[in-house]
């Protein structure tokens, strides 16, 4: 095969070769051929469904028949602003914000250590140890926390062994975050969310930190900056886009999740649970669609701001 390809004679003028030449000359044709399948798939299957969904939110359900009335109305959106539904939205957004902040706090030291101090095999090990939970089963990880947080589970046992049962009880007695046990409290929900999304924060932050040029850190030291000053004025601003990039995932994933709050936490619903319930048991597709618009709008605003902050380059 290789002998023929290297022969100095001109290659045979086959149909395949003519096609190849055509594609080379008319690069727009080649580009079109490349683009058609993915654009058709994403455009029709994904965007099409998304638009169909959003379209349904402008209809409303007839209270008596339970059927969707195909007449444009704002009634469904108005329902979002009832106190109960506003409470659900507020609860979900607050949880997403809290989880994002905790994730950033936990992820930073790991990312910082991995980016600046770990070398060679230790760095590889760090990377794998962060990746494995990220890609290992989401349900398994949620389930693991059900085991840990249950009233008779590991955390309670550990608190008892350390004679810290009083501390656990005190935390559970707190007004908003507490509850009968960790697995039925908002605190438990926040822990599980944080645990499950943490790798999504570590990876972009580490990527951003890797890109901080060592020479800048040295320059800061040369100019008399103490490590803490260098950290605040050089490293943190340069790592910030990475944090924003990570927060896109932690925030968005929390906004839509219905499994974690269903399994661990108090019984008060989150947006995802309402969407599931409205489209399933309640059969109110318009309201489910209107609720689904909430995370889309929030993420739309979020992504716009994130783009301004340069987070997309850190992804």
């Amino acid at each position: 095969m290789s002998a023929a390809a290297r022969a100095p004679s001109l290659p045979a003028d086959t149909a395949l070769r003519r096609l190849s030449t055509l594609l080379y000359r008319k690069s727009w044709l080649f580009l079109t051929l490349l683009l058609v399948p993915p654009v058709l798939w994403l455009g029709i299957v994904y965007l099409g469904s998304l638009i169909a969904l959003l379209a349904q939110s402008i209809f409303a359900i007839d209270d008596f028949t339970g059927m969707v009335v195909y007449k444009p109305t704002f009634a469904t959106y108005a329902q979002l602003f009832t106190p109960a539904n506003l409470g659900i939205i507020l609860r979900t957004v607050t949880m997403a914000a809290v989880v994002t902040v905790i994730c950033a706090g936990l992820a930073f030291p790991i990312a910082y250590y991995a980016a600046r101090y770990a070398r060679g095999r230790a760095k590889a090990a760090f990377y794998i140890l962060v990746m494995l939970p990220l890609w290992s089963s989401y349900l398994v990880r949620v389930y693991a926390w059900k085991l840990l947080l249950a009233r008779e589970g590991v955390v309670t046992w550990l608190a008892g062994e350390l004679h810290l049962g009083w501390l656990l009880d005190a935390v559970l007695a707190l007004p908003v975050v507490g509850g009968p046990s960790l697995s039925t409290a908002y605190l438990g929900t926040a822990i599980v969310f944080t645990y499950v999304w943490l790798p999504y924060m570590i990876l972009p932050v580490q990527a951003a930190l890797e890109r901080v040029p060592r020479s800048l850190i040295e320059a800061s030291a040369d100019l008399g900056g103490r490590p803490s000053r260098t950290f605040r004025s050089v490293i943190l601003p340069l790592a910030f886009p990475g944090i924003v990039a990570g927060s896109i995932f932690t925030f968005s994933l929390t906004l839509g999740d219905y499994i974690i709050p269903g399994i661990v936490g108090s019984s008060r619903p989150f947006i995802g649970q309402v969407v599931l319930q409205q489209q399933g048991t309640a059969g109110n597709i318009p309201l489910a669609a209107a609720f689904a618009v909430v995370p889309i709008v929030i993420m739309g605003i979020y992504l716009t701001i994130a783009k301004r902050l340069g987070a997309f380059d850190a992804l």
Partner: protein
């Protein structure tokens, strides 16, 4: 896991004082890693417990019984596993084709809507899964499409495209266009260049992307809830057991099994793309 000594820096002694991590940082970093992995170890321990009613810790005794129960006495597990496997395989295949095409287009050409295409690829995972799920479900309902194997696959393939796209694009960006020009200069046509130059160059990245897509699909539950109808994939089975447990330790056994199944492709994907990570790091 002790960290290796930092390599000698050309910059010399000045940087060395800052090269050692403080104890607090080390503790926070390793504590964080421990937080990520301890819960998974507990799952493994619980797969052997003799207690089947509650989550009591420490386990009153250890047994291998649940492994045989899961294997022999639970005929509901294996069809779910088979369906997950088939869905993941087909979704990965579709994602491989579409993701590679999209990344090749974005790499080689500047065209109107290029940014939009990147956004369109990322959107299915940037927006919460429940949105994708409910959008597809209502679209199926509007178009009168009955639930089937394919209704699951369509959803999975859509959000798997992005991992293939990211992996392939990263590799494309690191490969020199001059290689392709050289191949053309030496008389190869576009198809020969693709087969002998482009494909070997991106093959490991595609394999890695494919494996990640497989793991992603194998594990996906949120979109599947909406697109599966009455069908049960392994994650759906597991969700059912979480909400209404029948034999808790059997769920633990399946969880351990799922971890084993997803860890292998992930480690493989890592080793396949490892060299290019080192390369890109070395270049900077």
């Amino acid at each position: 896991m002790p960290s290796e000594q930092p390599p000698k820096k050309a910059a010399g002694g000045r940087a060395e004082a800052g090269e050692r991590a403080s104890l607090t940082l080390k503790a926070a970093a390793f504590g964080g890693l421990l937080f990520l992995h301890l819960p998974l170890l507990f799952i493994i321990l619980y797969a052997f417990t003799t207690e089947d009613r509650s989550f009591a810790f420490p386990p009153p005794g250890l047994t291998l019984k649940w492994f045989s129960t899961a294997w022999f006495d639970r005929p509901d597990i294996w069809p779910a596993f088979g369906l997950s496997l088939r869905v993941a395989a087909v979704s990965t295949l579709i994602a491989l084709v579409l993701g590679t095409l999209a990344s090749a287009a974005v790499w080689r050409h500047r065209f109107f809507g290029r940014e939009t295409l990147s956004l369109l690829v990322i959107l299915p995972i940037a927006l919460p899964g429940i949105i994708t799920g409910i959008a597809l479900r209502s679209a199926y309902a509007l178009a009168d499409i009955p639930f089937s194997f394919w209704t699951i696959v369509i959803g999975h393939a859509t959000f798997c495209i992005v991992v293939v796209y990211n992996n392939a694009l990263a590799r494309f960006r690191r490969s020199a266009p001059s290689l392709i020009e050289a191949s053309m200069d030496l008389g190869a046509d576009g198809f020969q260049t693709f087969r002998h130059v482009v494909l070997p160059n991106v093959a490991t990245a595609l394999l890695a992307g494919g494996m990640l897509a497989f793991a992603l699909s194998f594990d996906e539950v949120i979109v599947t809830t909406f697109t599966a109808g009455q069908q049960t994939t392994l994650p759906i089975w597991m969700l059912g057991e979480l909400v209404r447990p029948r034999q808790r330790p059997v769920t633990n056994v399946v969880a351990v099994f799922v971890m084993a199944v997803t860890f292998v492709p992930i480690l493989a994907a890592y080793y396949l793309t490892r060299d290019t990570h080192d390369f890109s790091g070395g270049g900077k």
